[in-house]
């Protein structure tokens, strides 16, 4: 399925870029490690399929929020690592704040309606 734009940031699918950027904040990772990290940190609730992960990574590369660099994996193999860029940092801030705003708004309605 060709992907041009992400679905809304509230669904897990649309939140993937935000999640990736957040995780990359602590350091560059390669694709497999990213998928593992998301799976673990979400207590195995979220499982990212490679069919979704890699196109998302390409989009992040295209937008300049992430850049690729070569590194050595744990198994001593040359593989590309993704690192967050300053622009990616800014984008993460934006996404976090808008996500927070929407979530808060929804919770308010659910609470007070």
């Amino acid at each position: 399925m060709p992907m041009v734009d992400m679905p809304d940031p509230l669904s897990p699918a649309g939140a993937l870029p935000m999640l990736i950027l957040r995780i990359l904040q602590s350091g560059p990772l390669h694709g497999y490690a990213l998928a593992q990290r998301i799976h673990l940190l979400s207590s195995e609730v979220l499982a990212v399929e490679e069919g979704f992960l890699y196109p998302t990574l390409q989009k992040l590369l295209r937008k300049g929020w992430v850049e690729a660099e070569w590194g050595i994996s744990e198994t001593n193999r040359k593989v590309r690592f993704c690192r967050q860029t300053p622009r990616g940092k800014t984008q993460l801030k934006h996404e976090l704040s808008s996500y927070g705003r929407i979530t808060q708004a929804i919770q308010e309605v659910l609470r007070t309606a």
Binding site: M1, P2, M3, V4, H30, G31, Y32, A35, E49, E50, G51, Y54, P55, T56, L57, Q58, K59, L61, R62, K63, G64, A68, S73, T75, R77, K78, V79, R80
Partner: protein, 837 residues
């Protein structure tokens, strides 16, 4: 911006980045397998998806579509060649027409800052003239700050060069003319404002390249030589370049400084006469000034001029500014003509596109197999449609490249044959190229969309689409043929119908007395003397006077409104025996009495229009001080608008003050040629400095008619090309249908059907498209040809003979192209067909 940069980087390094991604995915797969998960998806599919994220998929698809289209077109060479040829003709005709328009109206003169050059003309709510008086020109030049440079051009009758029999064309210009246009002399020097402005400077002349080649043998030593014009010595100071770019496309053989005009043309008052409009004024807008601002400043200057010299300015006059940096200064009616031509050329484009569309539909049947497979494998309708459109676009592009080449060649031929300024070239400029591209897109849309829709939908409505295409071709072809027939009729009419005056035996002799400083009395004496001497010549039957001679240089008309209809009226001022001399019948009333004022004689058509059913004699024309009474009605004679049958004429008697502008009209008993030479020898005896211009009306008439002959020929050619295209299309279509229905035809004939019955069964589907096409075409031609009336020499634009001729020709050609292949089918070997399965 950065994103685009990254995307381009990705595109360039595609292969490397893709293999890196593959590496990443392999690693991921290994790690997942190690953790026990073996469900890593199809790596190739994933890489495709990753690639799509970069937004370059369309490029890949385009490349695919193009290469596929090329293979398909090469695989069907007959179709491709035919389609490209037909498109080349259709688009080529349009490109040629636009190139001509571009040369005339859009291409700037090859002079510095041609877009700042403007033309200034006098205009008022009731009057319009393209010339102004020289003192007014000087006035505007001195006072206008929005015009940084002003040039004046004065046209004069041809002058006599040394001892030549034929006079040579000449033009007087202000000394800054060549400087402003940045012209470089081919030899010697050109005019210089510092040296050639004074009237007491030694008389100089600049030769044109053409006359330098023809008359002076391309001799560089002609510079400095003294030649004689009208008997006066002038020094040649230079030669203009071969590809001279002049204002208004004029090409005189001799260029002279305007200050010399009184010296060369004796007693001329052109430079000082404020009420005589004789020079054409051009100017250059000051930097940063718009034409509107200039017009406003000129308006206030005109008012100022009116205060100082009321005789130089009309009531309500203002100066109109038009762009002057092109070959022609466009008038509104020229745009109308261009529009008409544009419509005609679009018609042949319609025929071409409908034709190619039909060809594509026919091929669709042959390609059903291929397309069916593609759909079965999973091609989306949209993808299919896009690919077919790419094919059409490729075809269109090929057609337009061929069209450019064709039109270039045709234009080069035309430019070489016609006498045009040498700086024009047939090479297409950016405007023509842009136009061609636009035409290609339009044509492709027209012929490509319909079949592509049909094919992608796999609907079986092809018969209807085909019929529409056939009808469109028939309609467009019929319009072209009808218009061509009208023009051919007009040509016939022009040649064999009496225009109302016996031009075969007339000569006009224009002494241009007004330019030589004659006043009313001296002019009258000269003319009387000339008339009596001419009358003594044996072959002269009658001599008379007229102010605006037939087929002359100056045309005056005004648009009057008669009972709600706008008609063009041509006024003139004549001597009492004018009508007899011209051979114009006096239908009612009488001719002028000598010295009669306030009397007007009108043409029959005008009397009929203005006072239908009443007696025109005694009616009045005009109002206030201009009031005149009708004393006579003459036959129509469109002397200065030969082709416009709707024109009307009005004649007043020439008054004493008109005498310096009068032209002699001589009727000869037999051939008028001998009288020209005799008249030429009489003139010097009366006044050595006057060189009358003598013209035979017969020759002028032929020239005028030759123009419409050429136009009729061109339109006929285009019409026949369109019909040929349509006919060939029909032949192919009918042959195709027959091939499809061979079995059915064989069975019918085996069962005993008569040939005509079989033919009608096959061809019946064409009767509606033919009928609709013919009717639509006729209606369109009827409405559209109204604009042609002014050029048809009296042929009615609804002339039934022309319509019949055009339609009959079309029906004949269509019938032939349908019957020929069908007839072949009847000679089929029935037995073999029925056996073959």
């Amino acid at each position: 911006m950065g994103e685009l940069f990254r995307r381009i980087q990705y595109l360039i390094n595609r292969r490397r980045l893709d293999s890196e991604l593959q590496n990443d995915m392999e690693f991921h797969r290994e790690m997942a397998a190690r953790a026990g998960q073996n469900n890593f998806g199809n790596s190739l599919r994933l890489r495709e998806q990753a690639y799509e994220a970069w937004g370059w998929s369309w490029l890949d698809q385009l490349a695919q579509d193009l290469s596929y289209a090329v293979r398909i077109l090469i695989g069907a060479p007959g179709f491709t060649l035919m389609a490209v040829l037909v498109l080349a003709i259709g688009i080529g005709v349009n490109v040629s027409a636009f190139s001509l328009f571009d040369m005339i109206a859009l291409k700037p003169l090859p002079v510095p800052e041609a877009d700042r050059i403007v033309r200034l003309e006098r205009r008022s709510p009731t009057d319009y003239t393209s010339e102004m008086a020289y003192p007014s020109f000087v006035f505007y030049r001195e006072h206008a700050r929005t015009i940084s440079a002003a040039m004046a051009v004065l046209g004069v009758p041809p002058m006599h060069l040394d001892e030549d029999m034929q006079p040579t064309s000449a033009s007087f210009v202000t000394p800054n003319y060549f400087k402003e246009l940045g012209t470089q002399a081919a030899y010697g020097r050109l005019f210089d404002p510092t040296r050639d402005a004074a009237s007491n400077a030694a008389p100089t002349v600049v030769l044109s390249y053409g006359v330098w080649q023809r008359r002076f043998g391309s001799d560089p030593r002609v510079v400095g030589r003294v030649i004689h014009l009208n008997g006066k010595p002038v020094t040649v100071i230079g030669v203009t370049p071969f590809a001279l770019a002049s204002l208004g496309g004029q090409r005189p053989d001799l260029w002279l400084p305007i200050a010399e005009q009184p010296d060369l043309i004796d007693h001329s008052t052109v430079l000082t006469d404020r009420s005589n409009s004789s020079v054409r004024m051009w100017g250059r807008l000051a930097p940063g000034v718009s034409a509107k601002a200039a017009e406003e400043e000129l308006r206030s200057l005109t008012d100022q001029l009116r205060h100082e010299h009321p005789e130089a300015v009309w009531k309500g006059e203002f100066i109109q500014i038009s762009p002057g940096g092109h070959l022609q200064v466009m008038q509104p009616q020229m745009y109308r003509v261009a529009g008409l031509v544009g419509v005609l050329t679009l018609l042949i484009l319609v025929v071409s596109c409908a034709n190619v569309g039909g060809l594509m539909l026919a091929r669709a049947v042959a390609r059903q197999h291929e397309i069916g497979i593609r759909i079965a494998i999973g091609a989306g309708r949209w993808r299919l449609f896009r690919q077919l459109s790419t094919e059409s676009l490729l075809l269109g592009a090929l057609g337009s490249v061929a069209a450019l080449g064709l039109s270039c060649a045709v234009l080069k031929l035309a430019l070489d044959k016609m006498d045009v300024p040498k700086w024009l070239s047939a090479r297409p400029d950016w405007r023509v190229l842009l136009f061609t591209m636009g035409m290609t897109v339009a044509a492709t849309l027209f012929f490509g969309l319909l079949p592509a829709f049909q094919i992608a939908r796999q609907r079986q409505q092809k018969a209807l689409a085909r019929q529409i295409l056939v009808a469109a071709q028939i309609a467009a072809s019929s319009v072209l043929l009808i218009v061509a027939a009208l023009l051919v009729r007009a040509t016939q009419h022009a040649l064999f119908t009496d225009p109302g005056f016996g031009y075969e035996q007339l000569i006009s002799i224009d002494p241009g007395l007004g330019h030589h400083g004659y006043n009313a009395t001296s002019a009258r004496n000269y003319l009387n003397e000339m008339q009596s001497r001419l009358a003594t010549l044996p072959s002269v039957k009658a001599v008379s006077l007229v102010k605006l001679p037939p087929l002359g240089h100056i045309v005056a008309n005004s648009t009057v409104e008669v009972r709600g209809r706008k008609i063009t009226a041509y006024p003139n001022w004549v001597a009492p025996n004018f009508f007899a001399t011209m051979g114009m019948p006096l239908r009612l009333g009488r001719t002028f009495n000598p010295g009669e004022k306030r009397a007007v004689i009108v043409s029959e058509s005008f009397a009929r229009l203005q006072w239908p059913g009443e007696n025109p004699l005694g009616q009045t024309l005009g109002d206030g001080t201009d009031k005149s009474t009708v004393i006579g009605v003459v036959g129509d004679a469109h002397m200065n608008a030969l082709s416009d049958d709707d024109a009307v004429e009005q004649y007043w008697e020439a008054q004493p003050e008109d005498m310096p502008d009068m032209v002699l009209i001589v009727r000869s008993a037999g051939e008028p040629g001998s009288i020209s030479a005799q008249a030429k020898s009489i003139a010097p005896n009366l006044d050595k400095s006057v060189f009358p211009e003598i013209r035979q009306l017969k020759l002028l008439y032929r020239e005028n008619v030759a123009q419409i002959e050429n136009i009729a020929a061109i339109v006929s050619l285009v019409g026949l090309a369109a019909v040929s295209i349509a006919a060939i299309g029909l032949v192919g279509l009918v042959a195709f249908i027959i091939t499809q229905r061979t079995k059915e035809i064989a069975i019918r004939m085996a069962l005993g059907a008569r040939p005509t019955a079989v033919l009608s069964a096959v061809l019946r589907q064409f009767q509606w498209p033919l009928a609709v096409g013919l009717i639509a075409g006729s209606v369109f031609a009827a409405f559209g040809s109204k604009g042609l009336r002014v050029a048809l020499y009296g042929v009615n634009n609804l002339d039934p003979a022309s319509y019949a001729a055009g339609l009959v020709l079309l029906v004949l050609i269509a019938a032939m192209s349908m019957l020929l292949p069908a007839a072949r089918a009847l000679r089929l070997n029935i037995a073999s067909i029925l056996h073959h399965d």
